[in-house]
Symmetry: C2
């Protein structure tokens, strides 16, 4: 595998396993920081491979490809959570600096491991149970009632691997599949949340941490479509409490890099943890334009154990609208229209082909009038995807 | 020459001739815009070649290399002014969209052409003359007095090609060299300026224009070392007048892309034009962090005839400090120190080897207290270059 071209001056190479949009959006900050990026990409046309000079093609679960890739890097980090445990263990055995470390990352790879660790750490979670058969389902349902939420512990994303079950019959197939694999299902109570929040922090191997303001996330069909930073009408005590939860998790699990904590806000203002991600996250895309240090720059700084940058917002409000694949794939004319309509819109596109519902970009707008910003972000994203035509 | 990998969705390829830091700093914005960049680079280790996947090596004055490169691009633009007229003419004859167009660019390539055009357009300039012999020097000196400023019309940058002559004997060598080449020298009166300003605008082929705030530039030994945006204590009338000069030049010369107009401010608040550049410029580096749309994004939008982005400043003040090559080349530890001292400092490094006085990076800081920002920018830049050690 060809080695990345190093810059002079002692600057390191950060390797990212996975060539999706999260790796791609590290490219700009890496260039400015003077750091070299190398991406182990799924294909020559992966989102990040279009933007990073060193992007060898290889599979994230191909032990020899990953080891060979890592040998050219000073630090290895991730575009996604799917690198298998044995591959991670081999890297560590080879002496590779892997961030987040495998023992932290497993909490983002396996939701049962995550629930156990958070519960042990006293972090507020929905009531949950690990179940392997119908009797265990019935016992948990007797405690929390129907409907309840079932999750496959591994492999889910963007609403995939999550099922709202109205009764035991909805779980028959999932239980059978889990039993075949010798796995358990994670069951959770269906939390009566009033909205979803996310607390995004970064933590370095030295233990330095930095927290962005807590944001509100809006999901449509299980996919994040809008983020408002900071979360509107969130009291200072509630914001501090949510941030503390994220910082506690980062410290308790020894997370290195960016940690996103997805939260449910309850009617009394308290929060419980929904999901974790240990990498830059959709809920932090607003920070690329809306904060002094965006999440992609911060992730690079954190995994390199560089001092962290200021997460201070640059404007009272920033709203992010996700662009999803729609029913036309000729994006360029639509995007030209959006730029003409709104000279302040910051359009970010991922170089990905259009498939309905696929995340292909996002738009950030910052300013002082929240309702106006929400309308503009929604219009820009909707127009590029083709859902809005005027 | 290999063709750049195109992104799906109809997005264009912008080719940049020259692989220096100005091309490099287009890489991040191009990635976010979803545009593909291709750079004709001086070498495989050119600043931009380290950051852009498509960076074939070729000389800017090699006609066949430039034509071959341009054949893979939708638009061709420049990292510098040095592409020869015959090469540019061949591109135009091939039907390549070249921006800025050769007939505009020649005003940035030849200072005599520039002085004639600006004078014809009624733009305020220092008194000037084109001279070929000692008698013409004497005649101009009789008009404006000694010392005066001599410039080689082509090829100068960063103070090179500029001489302050105290008397005719200082010009003997330059005149001889010019005569050998069959060229003239440009002589200008030494303007009693109180400070230097720069007005940066962008103009698209459709004629849309956008102007950033007028900035103050500080030169040390002919090299820009600090930029303050906006220029302190510049009255609104003076700022409008300086911006109008730049917009007039952009329209009169049909500039496409970013135009930087370097200005001398006189004691009465009026300005005269010192130099022009038709590309992103050192005086606009502050805009990468300090404006909604930075100059590198805007240049790409302009040469593609996309609607221009808002040049609105994100903060009351942004100060840029250039990092020059110093006496150590192990930059990484110094940069780590700067990040620790100032979490709000935005450090930009160019991937270039250190040579004394060479521009190797810059630092931007934004905020409300100008004196504090100037101290921080100066300290950060000075510490990385090694001029400040504590």
């Amino acid at each position: 595998m060809p080695r990345p071209q190093r810059a002079p001056g002692g600057f390191p190479v950060v390797g990212i396993i996975g060539g999706g949009q999260l790796a791609r959006m590290c490219a700009g900050p890496a260039t400015e920081l003077g750091i070299t990026l190398s991406v182990l990409a799924e294909s020559e046309t992966a989102a990040a491979a279009l933007a990073v000079p060193s992007a060898p093609v290889g599979a994230h679960d191909d032990l020899e490809a990953v080891r060979d890739f890592a040998a050219g890097c000073d630090v290895v980090t991730f575009d996604h959570e799917h690198v298998p445990a044995d591959v991670l263990a081999a890297l560590v055995a080879d002496g590779v600096a892997v961030h987040p470390r495998p023992e932290a990352l497993r909490h983002a790879q396996d939701k049962l491991v995550m629930r156990r660790a958070l519960t042990d750490a006293g972090v507020p979670c929905p009531r949950w149970a690990a179940v392997a058969d119908a009797a265990q389902v019935d016992a948990f349902a007797a405690e929390v009632g129907w409907p309840l939420v079932a999750k496959t512990p591994t492999g889910g994303y963007d609403g995939k691997g999550v099922l709202v079950a109205a009764g035991p019959e909805d779980l028959t197939d999932w239980l059978a599949t889990a039993q075949e694999k010798g796995e358990q299902l994670l069951l959770e109570e269906r939390v009566p949340f009033v909205r979803e929040l996310a607390a995004l922090v970064a933590r370095s191997p030295s233990g330095q941490a930095a927290a962005w303001p807590v944001v509100e996330t809006v999901q449509t069909d299980g996919v994040c479509t809008e983020v408002i930073a900071p979360a509107p009408d969130l009291g200072e005590d509630a914001a501090v409490a949510a941030t503390e939860v994220a910082l506690e998790i980062a410290a308790a699990l020894a997370v290195t890099g960016v940690l996103a904590v997805e939260l449910f806000e309850l009617a009394d203002g308290s929060v419980v943890v929904n999901e974790l991600a240990m990498r830059p996250h959709n809920s932090g895309h607003w920070s690329m334009d809306g904060a002094v240090t965006g999440q992609f720059e911060q992730h690079l700084r954190a995994v390199l154990d560089l001092p962290l940058g200021s997460p201070r917002p640059r404007a009272p409000w920033t709203v992010m609208g996700n662009v999803l694949g729609g029913h036309h794939d000729d994006l360029y004319p639509a995007y030209r229209h959006v730029m003409a309509r709104d000279p302040e819109a910051k359009v970010h596109l991922y170089g990905k082909g259009v498939r309905p519902g696929r995340k292909i970009g996002h738009v950030n707008v910052s300013g002082t009038e929240l309702a106006d910003l929400r309308e503009r972000a929604r219009h820009a994203a909707g127009y590029i995807e083709g859902a809005i035509t005027q």
